[in-house]
Symmetry: C2
């Protein structure tokens, strides 16, 4: 039996992962938004460091209502659009559909589960530098791994099937502890995304100044403390902050996704990357003071081009 | 006996105060930097909401070495230049000279006293919207008061003489508690100066967004807590933060002095407005977390046009 995949949001991550699966012969169905007409005529082009390829005849849709029921749904939307899932997902679901949220932040699975109490949900943590260059055109620049953390599936046969499909498609994949994986990614995402927006800069410049390097480190310690209060089985060591600083120093100058959203005046993923972990930490008795200050600065910055939302 | 005044730094504040004193017939000696030649030929022009006036024949100098000993020295430099005082002040000083530091921040008097252990020092807190428009040209837009807080003078005859000179010159003046006055001004200065730079905006826009209004309020509470640990006789109530928010809401859109320094790519007064109060609070066992985060952001921002300094 082969799995039927639905890709919700065919951007940098969805286009790359779905494209690799389709190229390997898997049964993949792509939801497009503005690119639908273009892709219907011209197909999907993926320029990758590991070799470019073109998919001329793909299963493209402009509404989930026209899509078949899927065994696995990869949600690759910006989390600012997650309010749409309540209406978008039902046509894709059968009793054992697994939905994998390949998104950044904390609390995404909990919120989706409230709307779909019986749904199998997992987290996908993308370590893939990939972006949409233009209509139906994806650029994959480096890395290429998805870590999957099981939230409410608990069905090892389907999880293992997904793992082997990804491996056969040359998409790196690993099964990881859900809570630890979400928070570990937050240790990097929370300081770097927001600080690159607040100071309108890139990772290398923030790390080149001792004041901002120290501040990033202090914010990472706040995230680690919040993580270790969140009920994860595995505690994150404080030294993980040092590792993340050193790792990022070795990276080329990098503009995180929120910086690109800011540059293009798109909504910022403030809720799931900032507000939701702040709320969870507060429930556990910890005030993330620096992260909360950055959250407020980001709300102000976003309102300067989108208007005040609260 | 009439007092001889020296004005060190003839910009918005020094030009206005010194100009008003000179106009009232007091014996005033002005130190100029780049404007010296211009003022020697053209005099000093003060455009004021309370009436414009011109001083065609003023005592202008381009070095304190050429100035007479003064009874009162008003230091109106940016505090980033205070390292110059060690060399600039001695020619002006006799045994009972009073130096009034009309500058923003915490710890200015303590630092000057280290270099001049016997010197009479007072703080001047300016509530004057005044700026230099061009060479020898001051624009006074609103308010016009200097609060004086005695630090190490303790000679009421000279303090009272200064007060009556200021009154005769129609410069508002009041004798206030030194420590309380410095910290009360910091309650406004610390949040608004830095946040207007960090978010490249003005006071009205910061207060129009609930997130940044809340953040400003939280930072004010940090400053009030630091103030109340600093050994001031009079405690500042937390409600003072609410008063400052409401007062600023009623002001026209305002760019604080640090915002102007940023706009013109001048050094920012980070040390005395941020680092020094943070250090004092830490000595008293309190970590000003939000203020420290803003300090680090400001260091990064300043380095983006002046280079990294630490």
């Amino acid at each position: 039996m082969s799995l039927k995949y639905g890709i919700i949001g065919t951007g940098g991550i969805g286009g790359y992962c779905g494209g690799k699966l389709a190229k390997a012969g898997k049964d993949v169905h792509f939801l497009f938004h503005t690119d639908y007409d273009y892709v219907k005529s011209h197909g999907l082009q993926i320029d990758s460091v590991n070799g470019d390829f073109h998919l001329s005849d793909i299963n493209a849709y402009n509404s989930t209502k026209n899509m078949p029921q899927c065994d696995v749904v990869l949600v690759c939307l910006k989390s600012t659009n997650n309010y749409l899932l309540k209406d978008m997902l039902p046509p894709l679901l059968h009793k054992k559909t697994l939905v994998i949220l390949i998104q950044n932040g904390i609390g995404l699975e909990e919120d989706l589960q409230k709307d779909f109490p019986e749904l199998y949900i997992a987290a996908g943590l993308a370590f893939i530098c990939s972006s949409k260059l233009g209509k139906g055109h994806i650029l994959h620049q480096s890395l290429g791994k998805i870590n999957i953390g099981d939230y409410s599936c608990h069905d090892s046969s389907i999880l293992n099937h997904v793992l082997s499909d990804f491996q056969e498609s040359s998409v790196g994949v690993e099964l990881v502890d859900y809570r630890e994986a979400r928070w570990k990614k937050a240790v990097w995402n929370i300081p770097f995304n927001g600080m690159c927006v607040a100071l309108n800069t890139t990772t290398d410049k923030l790390l080149a100044h001792p004041a901002t390097q120290q501040l990033l480190h202090e914010m990472m310690l706040e995230v680690i403390r919040a993580a270790n209060l969140s009920g994860s089985e595995h505690k994150i060591e404080e030294s993980y902050a040092d590792q993340m600083i050193e790792l990022t120093k070795k990276m080329p100058p990098y503009a995180p996704s929120m910086k690109l959203d800011f540059d293009f005046h798109r909504p910022l993923e403030i809720y799931y990357i900032y507000s939701s972990p702040i709320i969870e930490a507060k429930k556990n008795g910890f005030d993330m003071v620096r992260v909360s200050m950055l959250e407020k600065q980001l709300k102000f910055i976003e309102s300067s081009y989108l208007g005040v939302k609260e």
